[in-house]
């Protein structure tokens, strides 16, 4: 049971208030129709699933209902931070989108 900082409510809250939303910053192919089966299949089914730092989506279910991103270490459950989608995108991109 973690504690997550909600970047919208600006408070640390217990994990029970949140829902997990999977890997963050997945890219939906811009033109799905022209994407080949492999590209589309990668989007649908393939996840980074790293042992280590992982950018993930959470939603503050009982609170503000906003989605936000958390950088969490899947091996230790250490949390590097949580950001709004827009802020997180900048940090993620600055890291080179590393998983």
């Amino acid at each position: 049971m973690f504690v997550l900082f909600c970047p919208h409510c600006r408070e640390k809250r217990e994990e029970e208030e949140f829902g997990y939303g999977g890997e963050a910053f997945r890219v939906r192919p811009v033109a799905p129709e022209t994407a080949d089966d492999e590209t589309w299949g990668d989007y649908l089914f393939m996840r980074k699933n790293p042992k280590g730092w992982h950018w993930e989506l959470w939603t503050h279910t009982t609170g503000c209902r906003k989605f936000f991103v958390v950088k969490r270490n899947t091996a230790t459950n250490a949390i590097a931070g949580s950001w709004t989608l827009a802020e997180g995108r900048n940090v993620y991109d600055a890291e080179g989108g590393a998983g």
């Binding site: 799905p32 129709e33 589309w40 906003k66 989605f67």
Partner: protein
């Protein structure tokens, strides 16, 4: 009856308050402050049970949570509690306790006859013997009964439990000297602190060593002063009888507080819970969990009357019980000496075999002056006795090797105590990723002082291997400073005198198994784990059989598996395994420490989540109206919905039949309030719906509704419902009852993460609207009676239109939509007025024979029309095309709606998929089982290829025959003209051992042209 009491003033029992209790039907005296164990020992009750595997007599070994043998059953009936440790049961007036082991009776145990056969019951005995799996259930029953665990209560638990969430700056686990000291300093600094301890009073080992002095004060006075000050600090909560049993991520500590079990039954509060689960989220945690003395492993060390030396000391000093009068102790270390002196001073004869050839001279001197007969260089080769202990055979040990130099004397005694050193209670430290370190100088797995400071976890006292009191207090002071510093605070304390009267300690002897001069397995049985009857020989056997990982050895021998979780046995087991393998202890390592540290009741874990607060039960505004009309309810998600309404003399089938026919022939009314309703507004709402739904929303005019299919990105149907256009920038979406929350989150997810640029907002209005569906040929006439501001003429108010108006004087939205295929209207009003409008509609419909109907009838009516229920007729693998619903998919919309691309994936677009069809049984009276398998032939000779399964199946009152829906491989082709010609429509449905011939048909059984709903 012999009295083993020594009524000295330092005891923590109150000799002025005698109590009586019963054990195994016999009544005994005891005192307030006793545990069941101390009271039994005070009465000379030695043997409390028989062992798990060999049926050997067993008695009390420890004085706390480490106790492996003395498992008892408390009270009877619904209040009975099995498998409590007698050492942890606080005595109260009238307590009734029973042994849990020894079957059929304590004195005569069938398994004791196994004793002579025990060489045929080695480690892995059960694995090796019961390979015949068919007989296992039979043997299991007998083994479980013979093994002797208590019985769970058979009646419902009348007591209550609750949870309490705490958010604190510091939680301190363990109220011994170090924990108290830390609490005091942190409390004085103004921090929000919780201090908890599993015992009935704070003090830890100080309660067992009243003669110790701290800074010139007696331990007792020191303790009293600290407790008084802690009580006066409003920012410090002191919880006794509270056992921390788990430490989880980010400093979430779980602890269970006993609120009632120590009180006589008559004095327990009805309104207060029995146990409380504290879920403590702490910025910092200090583990001052102490240590548990581990016994030495020697021959017959499991006899009743063989205890840990510290338990003997505790019983003497804390409870005023001399377990025996003629005591033989053996030790590898200094810790035993104080207790030995105390026993001798209280009049016991004490022989102390110190396995070290050169004991600590200061202690040796003190022991001599107290009258203790110290025997340096000796150990106990074996204890002698049966149901109690009569003597101990000493052996002269080699000074270096753990071997016997020469046999020693046989010393008559009535109790034996041993100490193999202290094992720090590192369990909590290890629950959350901490690893214990082997400290060779202290012969212990310890937690580091700075714990995992980066995570906010600190350790102090014996858990770190700091066994001395003065050293512990100094360490507690350091740790407190570190905690304060980490919270940007500093201690404001004066220098204090922490001097104690402990002599400097000298190293312990590295000995775990005391040798008896024989090869392992040939001497008297020497037990490592008492509860699971694991001997030193078993561990050697496991190693000989080539088990190398300590985790495997644990599982093969059952070492540490019991309710004591190996608190006494683990380290001895690791060490013996290491010796057997010729490895060092750190190379062997430890098994994994997992929650719970000690057993926790299901009641505590459930808390208030039971009875009528087990799970949210959601009610519609009209619930009372349904109760009044004898509705039988079913759970749909968390909602309670009327399933059918029973009239006198009816059974369920008759009620459903009556309700269905009312809707088909005259008029019925259903509470549809539970459907999810999402209000969506914004100038991009049409575009948003175009992306979310498979079908098109660009052209839908205000005042109109449309059915929509929602797909997931895999192209599979995930929800459906009718969405109405309120205005060009305002739509009202309905979802399935169970899908409401999921769909709203789904919409928000797409909007927030993918399309934040779309001008659209959505809000759940599920609870705002109460919805009554008025269904049947007479529905128009009913509505016209209660609503004068809507034109209900068929040409003015068409199927899939909605109108705003006033129903029974309440503003309403009326939708002409139908989940039954009949002419039908759904009336939506502010839920506060739901009951009023519901009654008004029933009143208006009375002349037509209006009948409320439930979900059973709803299911039949919709199945007669072939309408799907998402989640019943679909299972996450059905595309719209599989459902033959291509009409609800708009492939030409500009934006590639969710799921669209996946519909073109090779598998999704493959032929021969399972598709939704109707089924008609050859015998019209047969209602197929839902879930029945569809097969090509009636021949059941394996392999039988499965074509699909029945998803919905009912008896249709309208058709007076059974109908079913099913997903069947290639089903749409099978029911086509071509399929019929080829005979592919003839298949079989198999369930419950019966095979029925069925025809694959269209799932629309009633009114395929839709004349009724369009009427």
């Amino acid at each position: 009856m012999t009295d083993f009491r020594i009524r000295h003033p330092n005891a923590r029992v109150d000799f002025r308050r005698p109590l009586s209790f019963s054990f195994d039907g016999q009544v005994y005296p005891g005192y307030a402050g006793d545990t069941l164990a101390s009271a039994l020992l005070g009465n000379g009750v030695r043997m409390l049970g028989r062992s798990f595997k060999y049926g050997r007599p067993r008695g009390i070994v420890g004085a706390g949570p480490e106790e492996p043998n003395a498992l008892v059953q408390i009270e009877a009936g619904p209040l009975t509690i099995p498998n409590l440790k007698a050492t942890q049961v606080e005595l109260y007036e009238g307590l009734i306790a029973r042994r849990t082991s020894g079957w059929p009776t304590l004195a005569f145990d069938l398994k004791s006859f196994c004793g002579p056969l025990s060489r045929f019951m080695p480690a892995g005995f059960y694995y090796k013997t019961f390979q015949n799996q068919k007989l296992w259930p039979y043997f299991e029953t007998i083994i479980r009964q013979a093994a002797g665990y208590g019985s769970a209560p058979e009646e419902a638990d009348p007591e209550t439990y609750d949870h309490r969430h705490r958010h604190v700056q510091v939680v301190i686990v363990g109220g011994g000297a170090c924990g108290l000291f830390a609490a005091l300093d942190l409390g004085r600094s103004g921090l929000n602190v919780v201090l908890l301890d599993e015992q009935n009073e704070m003090g830890g080992w100080l309660l067992s060593s009243p003669h110790t002095s701290i800074g010139g004060e007696s331990a007792e006075a020191w303790l009293r002063a600290i407790l008084a000050e802690l009580q006066s600090l409003p920012n410090v909560a002191v919880l006794t009888r509270t056992s921390a049993f788990a430490l989880h991520d980010m400093n979430l500590l779980l602890a269970v507080e006993q609120l009632q079990d120590h009180r006589p039954l008559a004095e327990r509060s009805e309104s207060k819970p029995r146990q409380r689960l504290h879920r403590i989220r702490a910025d910092r945690i200090i583990l001052a969990t102490g240590a548990i003395e581990r016994p030495l492993v020697f021959g017959n060390n499991d006899l009743p009357g063989v205890l840990t030396a510290s338990a003997l000391t505790t019983y003497l000093n804390r409870y005023g019980v001399a377990v025996g009068k003629r005591v033989v102790l053996q030790t590898s270390n200094d810790h035993v000496y104080q207790g030995a002196c105390d026993l001798a001073r209280m009049g016991c004869s004490v022989v102390l075999a110190d396995t070290r050839s050169r004991p600590n001279t200061v202690w040796e001197q003190r022991a001599h002056s107290a009258g203790v007969d110290v025997r340096p260089g000796y150990g106990i080769a074996a204890a002698h006795g049966g149901r109690t202990t009569h003597a101990a055979r000493l052996a002269k040990l080699d000074g270096e090797q753990n071997t016997v130099l020469a046999p020693g004397p046989l010393i008559e005694c009535d109790v034996v105590g041993s100490s193999g050193g202290l094992s720090p209670t590192v369990h909590l430290y290890c629950h959350d990723g901490g690893r214990p370190l082997w400290d060779e100088s202290r012969l212990a797995f310890v937690a580091p002082e700075m714990g995992r400071a980066e995570a906010g976890i600190f350790c102090t006292g014996a858990v770190t291997g700091t066994f001395g009191l003065q050293a512990g207090l100094e360490q507690a002071q350091r740790v407190t400073d570190a905690v304060l510093a980490s919270l940007q605070k500093s201690a404001t304390r004066k220098a204090r005198n922490l001097e104690t009267d402990e002599p400097d300690s000298i190293p312990a002897r590295r000995i775990f198994r005391v040798p008896d001069g024989k090869p392992e397995g040939h001497g008297k049985k020497a037990f490592v784990d008492f509860q699971n009857d694991v001997t030193a020989a078993d561990i050697h056997l496991a190693v000989r059989e080539n088990y190398r990982s300590i985790e495997h050895i644990k599982r093969y021998t059952a070492l540490g598996f019991g309710t004591d979780q190996g608190k006494l046995s683990n380290v001895n087991g690791f060490a013996i395994a290491a010796d057997a393998m010729g490895k060092s202890i750190p190379e062997v390592g430890t098994t994994t420490y997992r929650p719970a540290y000690s057993p926790v009741t299901f009641g505590t874990l459930a808390g208030a989540h039971e009875g009528d607060t087990f799970e949210p039960r959601r009610y519609t505004a009209m619930h009372a109206a349904h109760v009044k009309r004898d509705a039988v309810f079913e759970n749909v998600g968390q909602w309670l919905r009327p399933q059918y309404f029973l009239r006198p003399g009816e059974d369920r089938d008759a009620a459903v039949r009556r309700e269905c026919l009312a809707a088909r022939r005259t008029v019925g009314i259903m509470d549809a309030s539970t459907l999810g309703k999402i209000d969506i507004q914004g100038k991009d709402v049409r575009e948003f719906l175009n992306r979310i739904y498979a079908n098109a929303w660009t052209q839908l005019a205000p005042g109109k509704c449309r059915y929509g299919l929602m797909l997931d990105e895999n192209g599979m149907v995930m929800d459906d419902g009718v969405t109405a256009c309120i205005s060009d920038r305002h739509f009202l979406m309905t979802t399935t009852t169970g899908g409401a929350a999921r769909v709203l989150t789904w919409l928000e997810n797409w909007h927030q993460t993918e399309w934040p640029d779309l001008d659209v907002y959505m809000t759940s209005v599920t609870d705002h609207w109460a919805t009554a569906a008025v269904v049947g040929p007479k529905s128009r006439e009913v509505l016209a009676k209660v609503c004068s501001d809507i034109d209900f003429a068929p040409s003015a108010f068409k199927f899939m239109d909605w109108r705003e108006g006033t129903v029974a004087d309440v503003p309403a939205r009326v939708f002409r939509i139908s989940f039954s295929g009949e002419l039908a209207f759904e009336i939506n009003v502010d839920a506060s007025y739901g009951p009023h409008v519901w009654e008004a509609l029933l009143e208006a419909g009375a002349e037509f024979g209006i009948m409320p109907y439930g979900t059973d009838a709803m299911h039949v009516l919709r199945a007669e029309k072939g309408f799907i229920i998402v989640g019943q007729d679909t299972d996450g693998s059905m595309t719209p095309f599989d459902l033959d619903m291509a009409w609800a998919v708009a492939m030409k919309k500009p934006f590639s709606f969710i799921g669209k691309r996946s519909l073109a994936r090779s598998d999704t677009s493959a032929p021969n998929r399972k598709q939704l069809v109707g089924l008609l049984t050859e015998d019209p009276t047969v209602v197929l089982a839902e879930g029945a398998q569809i097969i090509e032939q009636s021949d059941l000779e394996p392999p039988v290829p499965m074509l699909g399964h029945v998803t919905s199946s009912y008896f249709s009152p309208e058709l007076n025959r059974s109908i079913a829906m099913a997903v069947v491989r290639d089903g749409i082709q099978r029911r086509s003209e071509e399929g019929r010609k080829l005979g592919r429509d003839a298949v079989f449905a198999y369930a419950d051992g019966k095979t029925h011939k069925v025809k694959v048909v269209s799932p629309v059984f009633v009114d395929p042209e839709g004349a009724r709903q369009n009427a």
